[in-house]
Symmetry: C2
Subunit: 379 residues, 2 copies
């Protein structure tokens, strides 16, 4: 069976890799960030249902392979989609007794279990773990936050597959918008149309965020859908991500609706496409992130658009957005195999136009593989 | 000007009320839960834009009225909508330098500020505050979680107005679905249509969650949109909430699409409407929550539907859902002025039908005011 997303083996491998980085006397780690729950157990709870709206969860992992997911009884449907965990699912509410404060209830459960189990050397996410979750006397061996932040950068195969799945559903939304948009649509129409087609492609309500603008909105580079109406000949700039199981890809496209691009728009487009063509072959392990950004700037400068590119050339992404590595002027980083990064050259000039074209890539042992499949070009 | 939602005066009043409940030597409190940020400062960050996706924030409140909101530079558009706070907005990312881990960055900012300011007696939300946010040596005076949980139950006028605003946009979605649904629509169509019309009414992308089912889905009481298709004569059960500035109302409606209700459905409907008619007048300060639930059960039993009502009669809501008070068999609570509660009698029988009708009310000094305005009834 083709890998279509996160796998149990992937979750186990990520746990093992993390434990390898911890001192050997650390026997357990406690994970509470949504990001960590997805990374280590493929656990995500939907924000679209009553049962899990604003619910929290926690995961205790043991060096010997044990994994306990704390998520109250209402979250059962999501627990069953998580991998390789024993569920500790206390009764929070069943329409019979009063329910306590949900966050305090979760903290009590975890603290009680840690106390009872006698976990002495615990690693935690210090920037996420609430005070109430830890029993008195437990020794906090170390903060796994920085290690996790570093490890997350190098994607496992099943994480790349999950990003591809995110891009699949997002592309369905983009294609629908591109095919169906007509002059008279509002930016709101664009968002809702994209959302609808992403939901259809995903088979479930899906978190979606990004830029949905037309006309003058393109000239400022993006933004949430505002009150603008697509006029004949307007550019439409869409740059969005759909989150599936915690992971997102990223892409952007700009196209002209109900008209032809102006000569200046055509010139900007050529510059952007040349920037992509120039930098795509640079994507390989060891390439300087600042160097890739500088290459885009050189292309734009050589074509007379040097002052019209105010943002990054790209960034890492996956569970976060943006994430390392950053393709920016002041990066000291180089690309590594397993990085998932975007290239997104864009040009914006008031009164003239604005556009951005963006792909997502995974860096391989000897180059890069493009994960995005959408159409690039104003027409 | 009519109050259409949270106000600065309301935020200030809530802070003062909380400080009144804390020991007088507590000079500051630290708020980090999304719920607390909305309650005390009307701060909410959109999940629909790149800038604030998964970003955190923190609020330090001083007994003397000071209020400092910690939210990184990308969250500026949302900070400007918050009330009566000094913004501490450090540079997290500007497409020039590499960005650090965002949660660690926030924790560092807050910890550094608390250290530098020399706050000694701090109250915190122990079930939310991450370990890394507190400097060594700070004295945690007390957990504000339980006090906040209690105070949140009694809604201020501006909170009721915000719930009314949530219901206004949700009702636009419900009315659109009710008017437009036709046999052949899927449950997915229902969700996307509701979402679209809520976004139009709100003027922005809006968080939406709840039950969107038809046919056999009604007989199990709800669930997220699945693969069902509306057939002529099917019931459609919609029970959802839209979140505006952190607050949500709640309602449910069931209606028959492209046909007439069966005699048994009519009988169930009469029982539900009688349960509503019986319990609405009971809504007043001092009324027993368990007593209201028992009244619904009596109506259903007297009409021969005693075994078909498996859930609560209602619950509090606002920043949480469900929240106290709970209208359930084992409640020891009574209603109080300022409670916002639902009544949602429902009946479900396999092979026969399922329906739920729900209103939201605010308890007043001598009764209750209904906040919902949607149509109730199968036809």
């Amino acid at each position: 069976m083709a890998v279509v997303g996160l796998t149990e083996a992937g979750c186990r491998a990520r746990r093992e890799t993390l434990f390898e980085r911890l001192p050997t006397d650390v026997s357990h780690m406690l994970v509470v960030s949504p990001l960590g729950l997805a990374y280590f157990a493929a656990f995500t709870a939907s924000p679209f249902v009553f049962r899990s709206q604003r619910a929290g969860a926690a995961l205790v992992l043991a060096r010997d392979g044990g994994a306990w997911l704390f998520a109250d009884n209402l979250q059962e449907p999501f627990v069953h989609k998580a991998f390789a965990v024993e569920w500790i699912g206390p009764l929070w509410y069943r329409c019979v007794e009063e329910a306590p404060d949900r966050a305090a209830f979760l903290a009590d459960q975890v603290r009680g279990w840690l106390s009872k189990t006698g976990v002495a050397h615990l690693a935690v996410e210090r920037s996420h773990t609430p005070l109430a979750m830890l029993p008195d006397g437990v020794r906090i061996a170390m903060d796994i936050g920085p290690v996790l932040h570093e490890l997350r950068r190098t994607k496992h195969a099943d994480e790349v597959a999950q990003i591809v799945e995110s891009l699949r559903v997002a592309t369905a939304g983009l294609n629908a918008a591109r095919n169906d948009v007509r002059p008279g649509w509002t930016e709101r129409d664009l968002f809702d149309h994209v959302s609808r087609h992403i939901n259809l492609a995903a088979g479930e309500s899906t978190e979606l965020y990004g830029d949905f603008v037309c006309g003058a909105g393109c000239e400022v580079g993006g933004g949430p859908p505002a009150g603008r109406i697509v006029r004949p000949g307007d550019a439409v700039l869409l740059d969005f991500s759909a989150i599936t199981r915690g992971y997102r890809g990223d892409f952007a496209s700009t196209f002209v609706c109900g008209g032809e691009p102006s000569d200046q728009q055509r010139d900007m487009e050529r510059a952007c496409l040349e920037a992509l063509a120039e930098t795509e072959p640079m994507l390989r392990p060891g390439a300087s992130c600042a160097g890739i950004h500088a290459a885009v700037c050189r292309v734009f400068a050589s074509r007379g658009w040097g002052d019209c590119f105010p943002h990054h050339t790209g960034h890492g992404l996956g569970l976060g957005h943006p994430d390392a590595p950053y393709l920016i002027p002041q990066s000291a980083e180089s690309l590594q195999a397993g990085d998932v990064v975007t290239l997104e050259p864009g040009l914006y000039k008031a009164g003239v136009g604005g556009m951005r074209f963006e792909h997502t890539y995974v860096i391989t042992a000897d180059g890069a593989r493009r994960l995005t499949t959408h159409h690039i070009g104003l027409v």
